[in-house]
Amino acid sequence: MKLLKRLLGAFCASLMTLLGTAALAQAPVEVPFFFPVAVGGPITKIIDGYAADFEKDNAGIKLHPIYSGSYQDTIAKALTAVKSGDPPVTSILLSTDMYTLIDEDAIVPFDDLIKTDADRAWLKSFYPAFMENSQTGGKTWGIPFQRSTIVLYYNKDAFKEAGLDPNRPPGTWKEMADYAAKLTKRDAAGNVTQWGVQIPSSGFPYWLFQGLALENGVNLMNAAGTEVYYDKPEVIGALQYWLDLINKTKVHPPGIVEWGTTPKDFFERKVAMMWTTTGNLTNVRSNAKFDFGVAMLPANKRRGSPTGGGNFYLFKQAKPEQQAAAFKFVKWITSPSRAAQWGIDTGYVAVRPDAWETPEMKKYVAEFPPAAVARDQLQFAVAELSTHDNQRVTKALNDGLQAALTGSKPAEQAMKDAQREADRLLKSYRK
């Protein structure tokens, strides 16, 4: 329907130009824009609203927001469109797709468009943790928009029942394991009715696992995206900690834990603590029928979480005036007040410190303190796993993790196999 309306609008507009009634010297600049939806809530409605507001302030630019499925669907569509010569002007894609997009020569850096001091100040206004995945080789390829980190959600009622202090979430690995043991409930037959903790492992287990690896003191890759460290002893140790929760202390559900149903497991009180994205905050707030808390991920050698989520990219094949129009939109939507509003509407972390100083955000945090946890965790956050040939290198780790979690390989062998595969894939990028 919306598309029809837009088409009709475009048709009317072109008719008016034809009739010469429009005194404007030139037709509006068309900016098709792909966006994925990865969390609950009326995201398409919110984005369409932003687009309409932007057009009101900027006559002469026609924005076409196109909902394009999941992140995976969106990158597939965008790259296919690049190959057929008709890509969008801008798109929100995973921050980790940066190397892939550069290797495909699909995008242009923002640097060429940044000319004024105001623009330079704007570029410096984002949290550094979010820029790590947005810059490489001295250029800025992505602008942070819907960004997240992993946090731990816990059921305060379950904490009380287990005799734990509901205002003191686990701060270390040991505490999380101890708490989980107390929170795991079994029936007379020995079947578990409530698990202590769960870390999802379907689809993209590497992301949650990167949190564990960071907490154990190492990151999974180098900054140039040409090396991964899947078989470092600390990484194997991190996997062993996860496996022990499942096999030794039996406080974590066995096998593969589905990402999509993890929030539901939490609402149904099947699990007392869960790891998931801050992007789910608004979802949990509206659906949990008990008092819940949000905490930073527990530390072992240090605290840590990967960042996640999507950046804006500019496509190379677009005309310069289209790129300029898209750049204007990106600046507009990442202004402090809009970044704050987007964070409040979804649960994503507002991407710049001054967004947290706006009156709306201050009011929101005062009413709902968990919203600030992800922000406070940013000082410990680092870039999400991203390398050249990213999807394949990541799949090697995902396969290894799933093999270990389902018990077909021990931790060390699973990680060594993943490393060998990743090295094979990355060899041609090391010069």
Binding site: T100, N191, G203, P253
Partner: protein
């Protein structure tokens, strides 16, 4: 009309369908074959001819072999089961029984539903802890199972969904064939004193052979073609336990953007399906018709 005008007329009538087929089936198939001998074009590196390099890579790719064996198991599990079940259901709803129309509809419903919707329903059945299967399981006090999250059960779970989805569709063909069958045959057999099982085995089943061939060809194609539920339920996981050939091609082609390797895999799939179809038509066709 002259002979040549007739000839032209015939070709003109065939042209629209032939053009569509050439454009959307034959041309892509030929270009796929060509691309499978080239490297994947990247921004700075245009495609070059690499000969059988992609096929050599394929023989060393453990995930390809895994997806191939998975797919063969999947075919071996789903094809006989869904055909057998379809025949059973068709014979049953062909008989005179109360509520026959309703029963036929019930059996056919899974076919009408889109696979994506079906997969989402089954996803709930298989959910650990509070899924339907687990709720039934807990009544009997059996140990908990993570159906889709364990390497041993995930592929079996997908096979059940496929059988459930396909059997109703094949039933319709059997039902149509059964209704075509003359009642005289049953009456004559009854007069001769043939038992119902004997009649089914020696008369009904042979007369159904052409339908069985048709259904078999479709079942084989579907066993390699239907991967929608993989996308929804497991995405090939855990650790490639449910990786099927077509889904692997999708991953290579559109997630990894390696179009040349995907082309080589596609050729393998095409060769596999083509030879299966040929074998079915050439070898079975002769034995199918009841003379």
């Amino acid at each position: 009309m002259t002979r040549s005008a007739n000839w032209l007329y015939g070709w003109l009538l065939l042209l629209p369908a032939a053009a569509m087929l050439a454009l959307f089936t034959h041309y892509p198939a030929v270009t796929t074959l060509w691309h499978s001998f080239e490297s994947t074009p990247k921004a700075a590196r245009p495609a070059i001819f690499v000969g059988v390099e992609n096929y050599r890579q394929l023989t060393d790719d453990p995930i390809f072999w895994k997806s191939l064996t998975n797919n063969l198991w999947y075919a071996a599990g789903t094809i006989p089961l869904s055909i057998g079940l379809a025949l059973l259901m068709a014979v049953w709803v062909n008989g005179k029984l109360a509520g026959r129309g309703f029963l036929r509809l019930a059996y056919f419903t899974p076919t009408v539903l889109p696979m994506i919707a079906v997969a989402n329903i089954w996803l709930f059945f298989y959910t650990p802890e509070y899924g339907l299967l687990e709720q039934v399981r807990s009544v009997f006090g059996l140990p908990a199972q993570n159906w889709l999250g364990s390497r041993n059960s995930a592929l079996g779970c997908l096979m059940i969904v496929a059988v459930w989805k396909e059997a109703g569709f094949f039933m319709i063909f059997y039902l149509a064939a059964l209704q075509q069958m003359s009642p005289n045959l049953a009456e004559a057999a009854a007069i001769e004193g043939a038992s119902r099982w004997y009649f089914f085995r020696r008369v009904t089943l042979p007369l159904l052979m052409p339908t069985t061939l048709f259904v078999l060809v479709n079942a084989v194609i579907n066993a390699f073609r239907l991967v929608d539920h993989v996308v929804v339920m497991t995405r090939g996981g855990p650790d490639n336990a449910t990786e099927l050939l077509l889904y692997y091609i999708y991953e290579i082609g559109f997630r990894f953007q390696d179009s040349a390797y995907a082309a080589a895999l596609t050729i393998v799939l095409l060769a596999l399906l083509g030879s299966a179809a040929l074998a079915q038509f050439w070898f079975l066709e002769r034995k199918v018709h009841y003379q």
